[in-house]
Subunit: 349 residues, 2 copies
């Protein structure tokens, strides 16, 4: 639907594996001081001095994690990097390098891979990370992207999932739910397109939701912001599978309970409108949608004054003793046990 059918097509087989790698990586710039040796050897070499190294990895599969019918390749490349950097941000660390492996079936011409790589390089530039290696191969079916993100941090700045304590406040950055509704809008448009390919969709009313889905950003600003405010979270996670699932991770690993207040969950006005249009409950979307890539964290109650005036943060609940359980307090003031209903790539198949 977003594809230009008249694009030039060069077969990748003409280039070969090494030719393709050379072609894609020839313009890659190294900016991180910690990168000693980048692409071109058996492995990359990094120097973090006395800082700790933080590593996270993700595997994205066409048809499972993304649909090229509405995901332009450049956006896909960008997003693939962002979701990994988000994991580094969730440790309160700073992303410094990525490795990028891609497998492509022979239906992809060189120009498609270039577009994907353009998005990857744009994200690397935006987030100031070096592309230091990877692998390029063919797949039997579809596109596969595997990214490993590497970051650095002083040990005393790293925040784990397991440090939440009773009476801590539960805080989330930005707003929640928009990315998932963006996906619903795109799915609907895809169906309209299949019925009538000449239909020109008017997506203006959905622009924020679609951007959150197609071009999410990782909250790399939060580490610095919290540091300026002199707040160190007691636990932290990024919101990739929906609020429910992330709250359960923090509570399970910290051995605590939680009360989440439905009326506090931050939502963009566009999300509120579109949930009405689709007749979908906005809280369900926030709890189970996912792909927000906001940060969810807990802070000591004493730190509340330091963050309360900052528009980046919303207090959405508080931590309780483990035995009190994990609950959503609804607008009607009912207490409902919170369940993981996050996106599950295995059980959906």
């Amino acid at each position: 639907m977003l594809e230009d059918k008249n694009q030039k097509k060069t077969s990748i087989a003409e280039l070969g594996e090494f030719g393709l790698i050379d072609h894609l990586t020839k313009n890659i710039q190294i900016t991180q001081e910690s990168t000693i040796k980048s692409i071109g050897d058996d492995a990359a070499v990094l120097d973090f001095n006395n800082k700790k190294v933080v590593i996270s990895t993700d595997l994205l599969i066409e048809g499972v994690h993304f649909d090229l019918a509405y995901m332009p390749l450049k956006h896909l490349g960008y997003k693939a990097v962002v979701v990994n950097i988000s994991d580094i941000c969730a440790m309160n660390a700073t992303a410094t390098q990525i490795t990028v492996s891609i497998a492509i079936s022979n239906r992809f011409p060189l120009e498609a891979v270039e577009e994907l790589y353009e998005g990857i390089q744009l994200a690397a530039k935006t987030y100031n990370v070096d592309i230091i290696g990877g692998d390029t191969t063919s797949s039997q079916k579809g596109l596969i992207i595997s990214i490993t993100a590497i970051g650095e941090s002083n040990l005393d700045e790293i925040v784990y999932r397991n440090g939440a304590q009773p009476n801590d406040l539960l805080v989330v950055t930005g707003d929640i739910g928009a990315a998932y509704m963006g996906l619903q809008v795109l799915e609907r448009e895809k169906q309209v397109f299949q019925v009538n390919p000449n239909n020109q969709p008017d997506l203006e009313h959905y622009s924020y939701l679609i951007e959150r889905q197609l071009k999410p950003e990782a909250r790399k600003d939060i580490k610095e912001l919290l540091s300026k405010l002199e707040v160190k979270p007691t636990s932290m996670i990024d919101v990739s599978d929906g609020l429910s699932s992330e709250i359960l991770h923090i509570c399970k690993q910290s051995n605590v309970g939680c009360n989440l207040y439905e009326d506090k969950i931050p939502a963009d006005p566009q999300l509120i409108n579109v949930c009405e249009e689709f007749n979908i409950d906005i809280t369900t979307i926030a709890l189970s949608g996912g792909e927000d890539y906001e940060l969810l964290f807990t802070i000591k109650m004493d730190d509340f004054d330091k963050i309360k005036a900052n528009p980046n943060f919303t207090v959405i609940g508080h931590i309780t003793e483990e035995k009190e359980g994990i609950h959503l307090i609804t607008r009607a003031n009912t207490k409902i046990p919170l369940k993981a209903r996050g996106w599950n790539s295995l059980s959906e198949k």
Copy 2:
């Protein structure tokens, strides 16, 4: 052909993504001092003190890199780890951690993934590396494995591909070509099996070749050995794509030429016999076969005395000025330009 058709089958969907990860990782032990935080958070945290960090990554796709018709899953898991550790060894570094991502289609029951993971854990134990993270998801087709290996080294011990100098000696560890012929034997047996499934193959005469294909080992012993002999290679690479391709990498990156002597290339007696049986030229196999995971390196001529008595090493050529080119000197003393004919996963599709 090596599959037990009566095995118990448990659907992975029953477990869900987090259940599967918990199930697979519950017995994972951490042994590396540098691993501060392993599986279970947004990212792993590592501490290398003053050592440098070495990182390499590989993406393995069913039907492109392996065939489950003759590759038992446990061996596949083992090999997937080994090929990545081999890249760390090729930097003259010590592997310390791996991340393991797998994507599986719904044709795989839980028991299959367990078997794969058993091999992965066996390799991790054998090579003393910690499994510190990864991703588990579904695929639309087949099995996909993405492994990132992390290692450490002092800066002055790291060996790149680009340090070879004219008059250096070209040295290879172990023997070359067996893994590729192992693959030919297995391919032949697969065809026999397809014609007559009751045929019981007698693979005794091919045991070494098959082991080299199905259960290769990375030369993690070489770093220590070279250090004891007080030899620091001037350049190094691992033999994954065949001798030709690796020699060309070293020469291209070091801006040198090379003479490789056909009669010096080390071959196992079993390989010699089987090449005769298959009527295949053994030098072609050594040059273009690949998957040997031996180390190819260059040393200063002055270091020859230190390595000449060691059965792990064979001098197979010497480095020349760039303008002299890269040649194979045949048994008949003819000079043939060396070309990259290594295994290319892209152009084969």
